[in-house]
């Protein structure tokens, strides 16, 4: 759905194929023109249930969402489970969201199959639902604002292959292998290498959820593999750990490819200690989710998918305004 390598254009306006009529509130008499977003009166709430809230990424999504809320006169409630494993907690949060009868609900589902019951009840309550970050296996969401993590990981693999001349040994530090995002970012990388770079040998992925663990894991990979030529980290913590390990070991020519941003990755990329990383557009994702929700509240048409996009960045383009907007320290 997204074009690898570039920041995609905002909301392609393909008309929604099957916007469920019953979940759309009766249209206001003064229907604003297409694309123009009607302002709220500041009393209604848009409730976003994300996949987390402690990580910088989700905080950036939250920022974007709140920005849109402030702009258009809606209260934005943003919650998420403590970790991306906590499917049940997320479900409880979704139930709670439903119980407070908000004007619209946004959901970044940790597990789409698990949520079907609640989603049905949300539809039954005529509350418009917008999916974000990843899709929901159901007709319930009016639209989905997402990053294609699998494609993003493939993009990372492509750059890694280029950097190491299509041969050598590469280690993976995955932040999580049970969440969908974590899996896609691991699988996309592995699959691309398998298909496109047969001479690149991939090591057994190590899983590390924190910078400290990731540093230790990456260091183990580097120390145990004399001929290692690259390390890939699948989120901010994993990538930061990979950078830190490569600094500690100080191995000449080792390429580090990361994901997301953060202080250490950004300075490492500037210093040339890290080759580059993939960034998503979290702020945009939050912003788009809320504006889509407002449109849905007002019964306006929406495309089925709104791609919030991703981009590769390295020393050369790190300061481009388009990229810099999505990076955070």
């Amino acid at each position: 759905t997204s074009t690898p390598g570039g920041t995609p254009a905002p909301s392609e306006t393909k008309p929604a194929t099957s916007a469920p009529a019953e979940s759309t509130p009766p249209a206001e008499s003064t229907l604003p023109a297409d694309g123009e977003i009607p302002k709220g009166d500041g009393t209604q709430t848009i409730y976003l249930v994300s996949k987390g809230f402690q990580h910088r990424f989700w905080q950036a999504v939250k920022e974007g969402a709140e920005q849109a809320g402030a702009e258009y006169g809606y209260k934005v409630e943003f919650v998420g489970p403590p970790s991306e494993k906590d499917v049940t907690i997320q479900l409880d949060q979704l139930e709670t969201a439903l119980a407070t009868k908000p004007a619209a609900i946004g959901l970044a589902a940790l597990d789409t199959a698990a949520a079907t019951d609640v989603l049905d009840r949300i539809s039954a309550a005529n509350i418009p639902l917008v999916a974000f970050d990843s899709g929901v296996d159901s007709d319930a969401p009016i639209t989905t604002v997402q990053t294609d993590n699998y494609a993003a990981a493939q993009e990372a693999a492509k750059h890694m292959a280029e950097l190491i001349g299509n041969k050598g040994t590469v280690g993976l530090v995955c932040h999580d292998v049970t969440s969908q995002t974590g899996k896609q970012r691991c699988d996309g990388f592995q699959d691309w290498m398998k298909d496109n770079a047969p001479d690149v040998k991939l090591l057994e992925p190590l899983v590390a959820g924190s910078v400290d663990e990731a540093t230790n894991a990456a260091k183990s990979l580097i120390n145990s593999t004399p001929d290692i030529s690259g390390v890939y980290g699948t989120n901010e913590a994993a990538a930061t750990g990979a950078v830190q390990a490569s600094i500690e070991v100080n191995k000449a020519g080792l390429q580090v490819v990361g994901f997301d941003s953060g202080e250490i990755q950004m300075s490492a990329i500037r210093d040339g200690k890290q080759a580059g990383a993939i960034t998503q557009s979290p702020v945009k994702m939050g912003y788009e989710t809320v504006t889509a929700a407002i449109k849905a509240i007002n019964g306006m048409e929406l495309p089925k998918i709104i791609d919030s996009g991703f981009a590769w960045y390295d020393k050369s383009n790190i300061d481009d305004p388009e990229i810099a907007a999505n990076l955070y320290e």
């Binding site: 919650v79 139930e95 199959a113 049970t178």
Partner: protein
């Protein structure tokens, strides 16, 4: 404010019961372990493992066994995990903390290995009935099952040899042994019981969504133990209270749900929960001391 958010709406208690059921049911079993002066850290990842096994037995993509058989096997499997804990503690003499910490890691790994780190689906509609479906109007089945299991646990604790011996062991293990009680045997049985309750919790957990996440349970062990202790069971052993455990589990869940509903900032929710846990146990101490002084 709470009212306004529908927090005190009718049906809120059944909903709390539903949400609290997996943790609460595990806490019922953990009450026995804690009564002996032991501890079970393996219930969190053990829940994941037992749920994975449940999906393995019942899931359409796997063995697809008849419901009753699948459930029986799941409970048996939970008992087996408990048996391993019990044997490690009673016969190898490992401290419960370490034995169950080891099991926590083993269960975590096995759940991931068996599920191949993928969510596992149990489509069986009869299975899903065990959770949110209501048979008694207004009360989800999981809530009913939770209450029934609490009654069973209370009977076991207060009216059977198992309960008596668990308390005696917690009170003075050596004296109990010298009274001719086969302490090793009964301790093992206590952990088996906890394992079975753990599996029951896992079944309720899996039935709620019909999808098992192999890594979700980690961390639940602390909630389980907190529910038991807030309920008035002493970690030193020798005293236990199933009704207390039930109340403890509901209190914790009410707190979490309430904070969500009141839209307290999530970072502050941790702080508030922590303070309230401290306050609840403190208030309970005070109440009990006063009762004792009368």
């Amino acid at each position: 404010m709470i009212m306004a958010n529908g927090f005190a709406a009718p049906g809120i208690l059944p909903d709390i019961l539903l949400r609290a059921a997996p943790t609460g049911v595990m806490a019922l079993g953990a009450t026995f372990v804690i009564a002996t002066g032991g501890i079970d850290l393996s219930v969190g990842t053990g829940l994941s493992l037992a749920a994975v096994m449940t999906a393995f037995f019942l899931g359409g993509d796997f063995l697809n066994l008849p419901l009753a058989l699948g459930l029986l096997l799941a409970l048996l499997f939970g008992g087996l995990v408990g048996l391993a804990n019990g044997l490690n503690i009673s016969f190898l003499g490992l401290p419960p903390f370490i034995a169950t910490l080891g099991m926590m890691l083993v269960a975590r790994g096995l759940a991931l290995v068996i599920s191949d780190t993928r969510p596992m689906k149990i489509e069986n509609p009869d299975f899903r009935v065990l959770s949110t479906t209501t048979t008694i109007p207004g009360i989800p089945n999981a809530a009913v099952i939770f209450i029934v299991l609490a009654i069973i646990a209370a009977v076991i604790l207060n009216k059977t040899l198992l309960g008596r011996y668990a308390l005696a062991i917690g009170s003075n293990e050596e004296a109990t042994r010298l009274s001719g009680v086969n302490v090793k045997f009964w301790k093992t049985i206590v952990y088996v019981t906890a394992g079975i309750f753990m599996a029951a919790g896992a079944v309720l957990y899996a039935a709620r969504t019909g999808v098992v996440q192999p890594a979700e349970g980690l961390g639940m062990e602390l909630n389980v133990i907190a529910a038991v202790v807030i309920g008035g069971t002493s970690l030193a052993g020798g005293r236990a209270n199933i009704l207390g455990t039930l109340v403890g589990a509901l209190l914790m869940q009410t707190l979490i749900t309430g904070l969500q509903m009141m839209q307290v900032n999530q970072s502050w929710q941790f702080v508030v929960t922590g303070v309230i846990v401290l306050a609840a146990v403190f208030a309970d101490n005070v109440r009990r001391n006063r009762a004792r002084a009368i």
